[in-house]
Amino acid sequence: VQADGTDGNCVTFVLHDEDHTLGNSLRYMVMKNPDVEFCGYCITHPSESKINFRIQTRGGLPAVEPFRKGLNDLMGVCQHVLSTFEVRLLPEELRGLF
C-alpha cells in the first residue's frame, strides 16, 4: 500500500498484487458510502500487478476512513454470504438452528 495526495481528502492508494477481483468489489463498497464524492480504480499496466485506487471525500473527512470502512464492509458482506451459503447447504432439519 502506498498513499499519495495533496491533502487528506483525496488520496490515491497503490495496491500491489491486486487486480479487478478486489478492485471492482472494493470500489463498489466504497461508492455505497454517502461521504464519498469520487471513487475509482485503474490498472496502470496489464503486465504489472498493481492498481491505483483513488478516493475523494466530501466534507473534510480523511480519505483513509472510507477505505477502511469499505474494506470492513466488504469483509462483512463476504462473511454474511459465507454463512448464508453454508446454512443453505445443510439439510432441512438443521437449518432451523440458525
Binding site: 500500500v1 498513499a3 495496491l15 491486486e18 479487478h20 477481483t21 478486489l22 471492482n24 468489489s25 472494493l26 470500489r27 463498489y28 463498497m29 461508492m31 455505497k32 458510502n33 454517502p34 483513509v64 477505505f67 477502511r68 474494506l71 470492513n72 464492509d73 466488504l74 469483509m75 462483512g76 458482506v77 463476504c78 462473511q79 454474511h80 454470504v81 459465507l82 448464508t84 451459503f85 453454508e86 443453505r88 447447504l89
Partner: protein, 351 residues
Amino acid sequence: PLAAAMAAKRGTDEMRDRVVLGEFGVRNVHTTDFPGNYPGYEDGGDRRRFEEAFRVDIIREEEGALEFDMVGIDAAIANAFRRILLAEVPTMAVEKVFVYNNTSIVQDEILAHRLGLIPIRADPRLFEYRNQGDEEGTEIDTLQFQLKIKCSRNPQAAKESSDPNELYFNHKVYSKHMTWVPLGNQTDLFPDADFRPVHDDILIALLRPGQEIDVLMHCVKGIGKDHAKFSPVATASYRLLPDITLLQPIEDEAAEMLQKCFSPGVIEIQNIKGKKVARVANARLDTFSREVFRHEGLKNLVRLARVRNHYIFSVESTGILPPDVLVSEAIKILMGKCQRFLNELDSVPME
C-alpha cells in the same frame, strides 16, 4: 399527473433493477444505485437492509457440479467470486518432473506438461506453499509421485493378431499407474490419505515393446493465476436471471410463433375461452437467443430483460474438492484479501 409520476417511477425502477436487452444493444448495464444518484431512494451501504434482502438458494447439487442462486448482491462482488474460483483457489498439481528414463516417443517436456495437467486428489488445505527458491521440497509442501512403466511383448499372443491390446503388455500409460511415494513423515501425518490422480483413466502416453518411462514427480500447491493447471474448477460461470414481460396479450398464431422464439418451456400457451393465449411460464430456462427481434410483428410486444441482482452460478469442479467447498474457500479468500489490507493500514502509519 399521478399516472405520469407512477410511470416515471416505474421507469426509474426499471433502470435500477433490470438490464434491458434491446434490439440493437443492451441498456442499463452499469450499477447506478449509489447514494445521491436517485432522490428519494435510500442507497447508502446499509448492512441490515442488505442482509434482509440477500438470499442463497441451492438449485442443484451433483457429484461435481453445483448450481445455486445468489440474490441481492452486485455484479462487482459476484464477479470477484467467479474470478477467485477460477484463478485463486489453490490446488496441488505436478510441478517438477525428474526424468530418469524416457525412451517413449513422447518428448520429455510434452510428457511433463501432460503430467502437470492431471488433477491430483489431494486436499490443498493440508499443505503449505513452497518457499521461493527452495529446490528440494519438504514434506509439508510437496507430494511425490512415481510413474515407472515398461512395455513388453506378449508371448501368448496369436500369430496374426494386430490388436495392440493383445500383442503388448502396458502399452497404454494411464494415470492409474502413478503411485504415491511418501516423503519424510508423510505416512504419519496422513495415515488414511490416499493421494492419487482424480481420474484413473487419463491416457498419458502410448508405448511399444522396449520403451519405458521412469519419472519422479513433485506436486506443489499453487493457484490458477500462476498456471491454469492449478485451477480447481472445470469452469465457474454465472448468468443473470432472465425476465420476459409481454407488453400486450398475444394470441393465436402470434402466440405459437412466440413460443417458438424462446427456449422450450419458457412460453406456454393456455386455452382461455377458446382462444390460445401466450403466457410466460418459466423465464429462467431461456438462453436469450433474441429470436423475437427477427419477427416484425412480435418484437415490440415483448420486453427482454435480466434482473440485475439475481445471479445463477454454475460451478463445476475437476474433482479435487467438492464444489460447495470451493465456493466457501473462494469467499474466505476474498475475506483474506481484505484482511491483508486492513492489517497493512493498521501497521503502516499514514502520513
